[in-house]
Amino acid sequence: MSLTTTAVDALHEAAEADGDLTFDGLRLAVDDDGYRLETPASGWAGLDEAELRDALEAIPAYVTNWRYWRRSIGGEGTARQAFLRWCERAPIDGEATDRSGDGDPDERGSADREKTGATLAVPDRYEALRGGIDREWGQLSITARFVDSDGADRLPGERVYDLRHVDDADTDLADLDAYDDPRTAREIATYDEDGRYRPLKTAPTLVSGWAFTDLSGAELVEAIEFFYPATIANWHRERRGELDVDHWRGTAERQTGIYDVVDELPREAVEWMAEACCADSQCLRRREWQYDEDDDLDADGGDGRFPCREPCSLVVAAARKWAILESEAERTYELELTMSELNQLEALIDAVADGRIDEIREADVNDGANRYRARYLRAKRFDDEGSLRAREVDD
């Protein structure tokens, strides 16, 4: 990779303005003896301007890396910048660099590295960016890589980003529908593969079969904002220890109008609600909100990459229904069922709750939630009005 003079010029100019410039392992200082230039692997001192230019030409990765982050991306301290640095495993906000990371392609994206959050120093990162660095964000697979060719609008070291469904990570691009306008993400995210509306953007039902390629950093962030709104902002806040969590009590008490009733939902029902709605199988966010500040829910919050800082509008809307239903008194009913029919009722509820209906084979009459079994039970146990023949027992 050849260095353009513009990158050297810009770096030189920035050092002159700042006096001392430090970025991603690169240090360029101006003192009485001239320029001092350092990287983790090399160092020069007492350079005049011509010597500085020669030295910079010898460390092109550090120079173009500085240019990309400081000039193309910018936005120091922003969620956008932090996210794009996370995409290529660059250290964020002064986090330590993992110098042992060798960028082995086989290791990229492996669970261990994900867990340790290992970051890469500039030379390793540059090596990895040539092949592409993959990251997962919910059901999205992001690849950060260098542009295929340098040109007038393609500066050396410039990154681009590819975005696709994690299920398509190994699919040939030619087999996917290609897009370049981030706004298309809104349409892709609207319906699931059965054509049903997805009111919850973080439901694990994103359709596959599409790809955005060659996105700029700003375009990648815009697309993700449409797929998973506000996830980058809250992830960034969490990393900085600034995530503001609004727990159930506060959220419920704030509601007015038809939602005024949700604060009447009993505590144990909030537990059931979290178990029903906030599991990984239903939502990719990790629930961080609890019943109250000092009162944690027992229900597991999930393992999602991005935090959920407050009950969402779907949960609040469902809570209204449950608050109304839970205000009903319990009664005792008597109905005739065989043991197997009782078991079948359980199987039916499970199948609906787990969204398993479509998987039950037509002729699998061993499954209690099989449609013929359900129709048989209805024919046998329902009365002419279509109700279960149950008799309320007097106290």
């Binding site: 922003t78 319906y191 009111p199 709104p229 506000a230 902002a233 809250n234």
Partner: protein, 304 residues
């Protein structure tokens, strides 16, 4: 840097409810007047609660994509945006005069210019007239034609009717249409009897709603008598009791609505350059060109 947030209701059940919000946001994006443009919703994502934190701009202009001042604009949106020191009195409005108020949001370090809803802005009058032009395909529509501005109307919110009556009066004063009437779904005078209120043979019916849904695509067409069954669609114009009724759904889907959004931000101090002229020119060329859509999309489902 300055950002625009368009705050709308959205729906958990109907994916079309947010279409106008996205469409107007895109039109504003294309003018380049704002560094950032973001949609936000009560029932969709990003929620009002989270939207401001997704912005990098220090100055944020929030425009509610609602018809009337009332519960959502005065209580829900300011509360969910965490607008400190919000008080409806800051708008000094009797129901149709809200302009803007400048506040801080407690979870972000930004200045929020909270604007009145689009439905009560003077520029919305032009959108209603533009709607009449679009639906009839006649840029000069007016002479010999009656215009019915239709609102929901409700006993629970007196401001709901005020917005409708406000624009009705403004259009009437212009003298362009032979007759102009405000009609309602849930209060008198009712849209069911639309032909009783007009002598003109041609009547353009413009519902002052933000998005198409249950009311504009099911209720009103049946109430007005355009069709017995909304699922079978209706003609535009349709013959009803000796009148020709021109109808094309929610005014909020009209392209010129993006202009009202921009006007709201300009009133609140946003620097929008000539973005308003840009949008008006585009709408004008579209209307002069193909004569407008002339027919409603009847596929939109119900909101919740």
């Amino acid at each position: 840097m300055q950002a625009l947030v368009i705050a709308a209701h959205g729906s958990h059940l109907n994916p079309d409810a947010s279409d106008p919000t996205y469409a107007h946001a895109d039109r504003v994006r294309e003018t380049g007047a704002f560094d950032e443009v973001r949609e936000a919703f009560w029932k969709e994502e990003p929620h009002f609660r989270e939207v401001i934190r997704t912005l990098e701009s220090d100055e944020v202009f929030v425009v509610p994509l609602f018809i009337s001042e009332g519960y959502f604009t005065e209580r829900v949106i300011p509360r969910e945006l965490r607008l400190e020191k919000w008080d409806p009195d800051l708008w000094e409005s009797d129901g149709t005069e809200a302009s803007d108020a400048t506040l801080e949001a407690s979870d972000v370090d930004k200045t929020i210019h909270y604007c009145g809803p689009i439905g009560t802005h003077d520029a919305m009058t032009d959108v209603i007239v533009q709607r009449a032009e679009s639906v009839t395909g006649d840029p000069g529509v007016g002479e010999g034609v009656g215009l019915a501005v239709v609102g929901h109307g409700t006993d629970r919110n007196e401001n709901s009717a005020k917005a409708i009556e406000y624009h009705t009066e403004r259009i009437r004063e212009r003298g362009r249409f032979d007759e102009v009437r405000a009609l309602f779904m849930d209060e008198e005078p009712e849209v069911d009897d639309v032909t009783d209120y007009f002598e003109s043979e041609d009547v353009v019916v413009v519902p002052l709603f933000i998005a198409d849904g249950y009311h504009t695509q099911e209720d009103i067409p049946e109430d007005v008598g355009l069709t017995e069954d909304y699922t079978t669609g209706w003609d535009v114009p349709a013959e009803v009791d000796g009148h020709r009724i021109w109808y094309a759904g929610a005014v909020g889907t009209e392209e010129l609505t993006a202009d009202v959004v921009l006007e709201r931000t300009a009133d609140a101090g946003a620097d929008i350059g000539d973005a308003v002229d840009e949008i008006r020119a585009r709408v004008r060329s579209a209307t002069d060109g193909d004569g407008g859509s002339g027919r409603a999309d009847t596929n939109a489902g119900a909101g919740d």
